[in-house]
Symmetry: C2
Subunit: 453 residues, 2 copies
């Protein structure tokens, strides 16, 4: 297998393309198949449709399965349509069951069923089983291609078994031990096996208490478990302890990456809409609902300000500090939100305790508010010549920052406790709530101090 450096990758792609253009197909076939599947897929994506059709002639459906596996789901969906139906079914037969299930789940049901029917029965059953698990659970991301042992095998027997089964297994580095009922009873690493004597029994080499997850466990929880223990894989078991499949570290890295994308989406009102590869129209369709929804909340702030029109008309300059107050409260609230969301994700918050966290955020908010208030008490009189205005803005920023940190911390905690959709804990929603509270504080203080102006 030829693997490429960053420097040589483009060069090599040009060389391969040249081989196709000059019809040196045998040489192309040989060189292409030596590439790592990830590089094969990258190259495949640079081809014109006509050249892709040539490629399908040159490589077997099994070799194409490796390429297909390395593509993104969206790319897979686009490209499957141009592949000959029979060749496609053969190719999907050769995918790992979890990859096949992920792909088929994205197709129209009729289309998926057509492919499943064309597949061989055993593979199709594995795929159907995986497709039945709710998405984003351990069951949905696990693979069926694992190696299982019995506790009475010797190290030597296992090595021989590996020689045969390795080509079809997703990992051979963790081997799971089951009893006659297929219940998981232990784990042995290939590392332990290599260092063992050839006559030693699996039952003496294995660790009898394995960390396992249920098929219903949330995929992020599986990811955190594998990350915490530095595992390369984790076994998935049924309620009766029967070994159903394994989740490997490479799948888990994708889960962590997706979780980060989701978190970011929540903080930026763009959940599910951060893909650069969609048209402006589709991007607008995905993103507009957030903006419009938040704009309607903005109408509430307009209503609040409208209530204080008398106060505002007496001292128009009050309007000048609306953005400053709103911005500061928004930023302080979002900071608290980030602290709590991160603490929940990493599990550090549970150790700390919820009430202590809230109290800390409140104290932090008061301290930051005090600093801001003092700064404004110095600056506003200089630029705007009004000490009372400075007092109004100063007290307002102190109060609204103290409140904003608590709101920023308490909302995600409640959402988390009640297991509601965390989108409601997203940055923009909390900012909007803090806007409304901040404006009420500001204008209430301003109205009551109006006589001093």
């Amino acid at each position: 297998m030829v693997r490429l450096n960053n420097d040589t990758r483009d060069e090599y792609a040009n060389y391969l393309l040249g081989l196709i253009k000059e019809n040196e197909l045998e040489q192309f076939q040989e060189d292409f198949l030596q590439l790592h599947p990830t590089d094969q897929a990258d190259f495949y994506l640079t081809l014109e449709k006509e050249d892709r059709q040539n490629l399908y002639q040159l490589i077997t459906s099994e070799e194409m399965a490796d390429v297909f596996q390395a593509l993104e789901i969206e790319e897979q969906k686009d490209l499957i349509t141009e592949i000959d139906h029979h060749y496609a079914a053969e190719m999907i037969n050769h995918l790992y069951a979890d990859d096949a299930a992920d792909f088929l789940a994205e197709l129209e049901q009729a289309e998926a069923l057509k492919i499943l029917t064309a597949m061989n029965l055993e593979d199709a059953n594995d795929v159907k089983e995986l497709m039945a698990y709710p998405s984003k659970t351990a069951g949905a991301i696990m693979t069926k291609e694992f190696i299982s042992l019995t506790s009475t095998q010797t190290a030597q027997e296992v090595i021989e078994q590996l020689r045969e089964e390795a080509p079809n297994a997703e990992t051979i580095y963790y081997l799971y031990v089951v009893d006659y009922q297929q219940q998981l009873v232990g784990v042995v690493s290939l590392r332990d096996l290599i260092t063992a004597q050839s006559h030693e029994l699996v039952k003496d080499l294995m660790s009898p208490r394995v960390v396992s997850v249920a098929s219903t466990t949330d995929q992020e929880e599986v990811a955190q478990l594998i990350k915490k223990y530095d595992f390369l894989a984790a076994p998935v078991v049924s309620p009766a302890g029967i070994l159903l499949g394994i989740v490997t570290v490479d799948d888990v890295m994708d889960v962590l990456e997706d979780a980060a994308t989701e978190d970011l989406g929540d903080f930026t009102a763009s959940r599910g809409a951060t893909d650069v590869n969609v048209t402006a129209f589709k991007a607008a369709r995905l993103r507009a609902p957030w903006i419009v929804l938040l704009m309607f909340f903005g109408l509430i702030t307009a209503g609040v300000i409208d209530q204080f029109e008398d106060t505002l008309s007496q001292i128009v300059l009050l309007a000048a500090f609306i953005p400053l107050l709103m911005g500061s409260a928004g930023n302080a609230g979002t900071q608290s939100l980030a602290v709590v969301v991160r603490g929940l994700a990493l599990g550090t918050l549970e150790k700390k305790g919820l009430f202590k966290t809230l109290l800390r955020e409140f104290n932090t908010g008061m301290m930051i508010g005090l600093i801001c208030a003092l700064a404004l008490l110095l600056i506003i009189p200089i630029f705007y010549g009004s000490f009372i205005l400075a007092v109004i803005v100063g007290i307002s920023i102190f109060c609204s920052l103290s409140v904003a940190t608590v709101i920023g911390a308490i909302v995600p905690l409640i959402i988390n406790k009640l297991k509601l959709d965390p989108a409601f804990a997203s940055g923009p929603f909390i900012t909007t709530v803090n806007d409304i509270l901040g404006l009420l504080i500001y204008f209430t203080i301003a109205t009551s101090l109006l006589e001093f102006l």
Copy 2:
């Protein structure tokens, strides 16, 4: 090695603690050492200081090294102070070089030197070498404990070598092949080795073109590479191609997690300040600079509004829509920022092209702006009885959303091109820029349409 389920972990910890309290130290020793180091560390952290001192008597410095390795750096720093100096140096001798380097880099220089001097010479040199690499590079996160082969060894000879070296290597699943000058010439996986015949030569089994990284490569780039290829490790080489160390997948998961924390910090003005385990005072000290800095930018918005005091005093109701306009422009800009930051992180943006991305964001912004404008043209006349006010706010939201998406996309692209600190591309900064532009647009339009009101 006993591993625990989530359900039984607390129960088992209580059992272990009971053994200490009842002074059944031999039984404790036996049971404790059967735990996975991650669980050992979790248990260790629940102990009182007195019990921890007992623990140091019961387990060797080598066994303690496993526990220590599983702790967070902050925890390591707290706990090292209570450990006997001689025992501590012994323990650090037994750490993997990369973990020892990470830990010592966090200590005061004098303290670190004292420990390095007490360590054995060879280990200390490895650690010093790692400490010399700039932080957040491949060199800084790589481990020196890898297994290297020569191309003339047979599969059988390699297996025998593994039996000896496995206990000291961080991974034995990828084996790197070097020539007589220690230059990296290939890689062979344990999987390939297991399935090979025992007399086959490494040079016939290895992949000759290995993906490698330079010691100066950014750690996030290494992480993305490992993730892209589903590797379990990647080799780090000098400019002359000499194998220096390897980066393993478990280190890379921590890098991805840290990167996600950093990204979130950038979006929430809380970079480096999302730790829940610090006092309110320290949290305020870390977070206040962001809030105060952004508040000073807020003073610019106050200045902008102040310039339009005449317009405002003629129609006070204009102030009511400041939050709505600012909020919408802020949200639209942050969405674009999220799209671009995510695209840069995942590498999807480079394929798409910068100009096309900007154009798409501009088009998206115009479409969302149009929807918002139409909604406001319907709603504002109903609630506030003024069609001209609706026109002013509507045109303003259309213009400022179109601009905001472009600003949100272009700033991180410029930052990325110029390799500046991405903190300046953070959400709050972009929101502040969009606030100022949005207010200028709003009041300019309002002033020019004033005569119609």
